[in-house]
Symmetry: none
Subunit: 135 residues, 4 copies
DNA sequence: GTGGTCTAGACCACC
DNA sequence: GTGGTCTAGACCACG
């Protein structure tokens, strides 16, 4: 499970993790029973404090998304949200897409340029890891 | 200048304002000498405490982005950063673009679909308002 | 409201505060509507971090003992526990009394000496402040 | 040596054990050379994890209070602190006594009642077990 | 090794 | 001025 946090965005780090785990669960990248990285491993990978990672997991547990077993780790809950329908998944991404467009608009980045940038970044990611997402 | 804050995002409200003003200035939507809404008006429009609006402006002034003239309001500074070069503006948007891609990946939205969604939303925005963004 | 924390006991500081507020509420020393010291004032008085004091109050609020009003302070709730009957109040103190006796036993302090010590300390406290407790 | 832990008190379990052993040693209830229960036995008796019991003993050993002889168990050290003078022993109990008094004060238990309660509980304990405490 | 708790410092939003 | 949140470090209990 690839995670990524942005320290400059102002969004609390623990929330960024929560959102990504939820998205992965909703999308099916994480399936019921799958183990999440340990609090320590996640903290090290993202260069954050253990507590911040722990808090993200605590939040996810309190929302019923994951289950934590003392001494063995955190796992995606069986009764977690089942993978969403395609239309629903799209809706989830639209709010962020709109915010991005507004930002680009403020920066006077043209529609054409924005599309190019997206294509560039997608290519960049796909070259980095063998993704299981279909093309 | 149209502004918008998201209370659920976790991003400090005052920071959201700062970011939007900076983006508008960097992109050229706001030009040197242009007036910003008064603290009072902004607070009312966004339904926030006047202190919070004032704080955003104080931050912008301390960074030299705007100047406040007693009794007449806040204005974009003449010596503020001139509109950025195209390449620099692009860089500004890339971090957000990457986060979006990760999110889409977790939701198992294909690259092709993501591109389509972007095109859709761009069309949506352009049909809504007479944008001054170049094509 | 006189408060006192013991840093060496191992009992979490925030819990010691919670217990004392509850006891004061149960005993009637604090009455519904009474204001508690502000988080900052309490922290300074006890030489603890503001967060530790805040946590105690947060716990008390979550248990419905106090009510906190943004910007004005914390107050004992009207529907808080009504003053306990004499017998019940006594019960509250017995667990601690027993722990004390066991400790004294381990230290081989005689019953007589323990009683003397209690009398001494009571006299000490009564000389320090004009207590409203009946003798 | 009878031990007792309170899981709700917030005091670390290992510390409660350490405190009780030290008190017993300081008071003379445990004498140099006396054997302590094995880690295994203690863990079982108190229903705690063996690691926790082991940790308490490790702490005691590192402080020079006890010594562990491979295969035979843990014993109170000969060079451990000899039983304290009466005055010192009294000091040890005073902090707890003060906390008790504050608590009683908040519960509006009168000095007289507090003294009676102490006498009651002392009588209760003495009737329960043949104590070796001097009268 | 695992997750959980307590204390702390810096910052935020509101009166 | 008020209380609340986020991040962090150190420590605890358990497998």
């Amino acid at each position: 499970m690839r995670m990524l946090v942005n320290f400059k965005s102002g969004v609390p780090v623990y929330l960024q993790i929560v959102q990504q785990v939820k998205a992965a669960a909703a999308g099916g990248t994480l399936r019921p029973g799958d183990a999440l990285p340990s609090v320590r491993a996640l903290a090290e990978e993202l260069r954050i404090n253990r507590n911040t990672a722990a808090r993200a997991y605590a939040e996810l547990e309190s929302e019923g998304v994951i289950e934590t077993r003392q001494g063995s780790g955190c796992f995606l809950k069986a009764n977690g949200a089942s993978p969403l329908r395609r239309a629903v998944r799209s809706e989830r991404i639209i709010a962020e897409l709109d915010a991005l467009i507004v930002q680009a608009h403020h920066l006077q980045i043209s529609d054409t340029d924005l599309k190019s940038l997206l294509a560039d970044r997608l290519a960049h990611f796909r070259s980095q890891l063998p993704v299981e997402t279909s093309a």
